[in-house]
Amino acid sequence: MNSPTPVALYQRTIAQLSAGLTAGEFSSEELTRALLDRIERNNPQLNAFITVTAEAALAQARAADQRRSQGHAGPLTGIPIAHKDIFCTQGVRTSCGSRMLDRFIAPYNATVVERLNAAGTVMLGKTNMDEFAMGSSNETSFYGPVRNPWDLNAVPGGSSGGSAAAIAARLTPGATGTDTGGSIRQPAALCGITGIKPTYGRVSRWGMIAYASSLDQGGPMARTAEDCALLLAAMAGFDPRDSTCVDQPVPDYVARLNQPLAGLKIGLPKEYFGEGLDSAVAAVVETAIAEYRRQGAETIEISLPNSQLAIPAYYVVAPAECSSNLARFDGVRYGHRCENPKDLLDLYTRSRAEGFGAEVQRRILVGTFALSAGYYDAYYLKAQQIRRLISDDFRRAFEQVDVIAGPTSPTVAFNLGEKVDDPITMYLSDIYTIAVNLAGLPGLSLPAGLVGQRPVGLQLIGNYFAEHRLLNVAHRYQQVTDWHNRIPTGF
């Protein structure tokens, strides 16, 4: 029998791997070993993983193979993935990219980890990230920056940069991420992969280390929308342990991927195509939108008039919530503790100053100021009012259109070190993603082209709980384009 050379396991998507496991073409143990080998060879130059859990992964893979042999396999049984190091994983270091938690062994699993374990996934390890998810370049990690597989001099984006780089370099077919102001979508765009931030409340935040609780949301990252659908199906759903998790049925994301796009109304916000958008990125995004018109979608220019206020409002709301959430790191019950504290105040202040990096301390200080007596109304209350205006802009837009499309990021990946000394310039990198978090809407980024050797992401924004529609719209594009199959040179 003459069969063509099979595609290497690491090149395959989750859907393809799932089919291969079902057909008995290979075992989860073989697949897991192949990926662990790739991580061992490629991670030193990328720094995408903080911790690799090889032995535990092989044990999980063998258990998955056994379940499969007993006829108890689901679509994710035996599929290796990685978890962003913000999700608590029982018995495994959960650092959140910080010195504060460098020696923190989580005593329990996050709900997202529990759910993916129950679906049969195999954890390869924990991925690198900006410290406490505060950053857009992965340069604030205590464990050093992650490099972008498309160009080792470029940042992978952040804060879920380790997850994005690991997927782009084919070290894992999928990973978890979290998104507070763009931390799934922006690194997905900069690394040429697909990632979705679900509606606030769709995925449990229990066991996901908090940054800004009214904005934080976990979601999947993978090569394709189809793979994100498979992962999100396992991650989403009500959790009584998260008081903001929404009790609403989870649609069948996979079954709805192929819905035709004829008649789809796509809104193009004029504020997302104006000043500040790199012209080469704009051209790639326009080409992707033209493809949607070919598939029968109608495009309508819309306006989100308060867009320019999203970054100012975010840099009050997020730091305010962060200053409150990170107050728990006091050097007493867990986390870093300074040597020889002379009194309780010294214990608190030195443990925190030594444990947190500069960007985290900046945001704690901004938040503490914004919440302090005399400034609360002018900053925090004002930001919450602006948040309402931004949310109302989207509400009006979704009366006219089904989805909103535009660039994920104003530029392709920038160089390592380029923005690290200027926090404000770094913040502007999230100009198109932040409003989505303030409104609590779902947003997805998918690869739509390259500028030079650096990927460009197309962002799709949906109405509340319309994840199925975003995945469908992204999937249809991926049926007629191959940007999601491009591999960075050298990987």
Binding site: F104, P107, Y200, G201, S214, P240, S243, T244, L309, I311, P312, A313, Y315, V316, A327, D330, V332, R333, Y334, G335, H336, R337, P341, K342, D343, L344, L345, D346, L347, Y348, T349, R352, A353, F356, Q361, R362, I364, L365, V366, T368, F369, A370, S372, Y379, K382, A383, Q385, I386, R387, R388, L389, S391, P423, I424, Y427, L438, A439, G440, L441, Y464
Partner: protein, 95 residues
């Protein structure tokens, strides 16, 4: 609003962060720049706009007042920096 070194020291105290004197000027500069950025909000009149605290305007869900978590003291003590006889140790608070 522009912050000086003295204001940074006051905020750092409120935040329980030991900011070194030599780092205070840089923090003052960064924080002032961030406040200048966020003050762009003042360009918009928000009189009468209801503040939005939660994206879905939901009320906090309550649960019955019953014990829901098992006792795991030994597990949690195992990751603490300093413990003794089941207690968390801190510097002496009362003379």
């Amino acid at each position: 609003m522009s912050l000086g070194v003295a204001e940074v020291a006051k905020i750092a105290h409120l935040a329980r962060l030991a900011v070194r004197a030599e780092d205070a000027p840089a923090y003052a500069r960064n924080l002032s720049a961030i406040l200048e950025l966020v003050e762009q909000m003042n360009a918009v009149d928000t009189t009468g706009v209801a503040p939005m605290a939660h994206p879905l305007d939901m009320a906090q869900r309550l649960r019955p007042d019953e014990v829901a978590e098992p006792e795991q003291r030994a597990l949690f003590q195992a990751i603490a920096p300093r413990v003794e006889a089941g207690l968390y140790l801190v510097p002496k608070v009362i003379e």
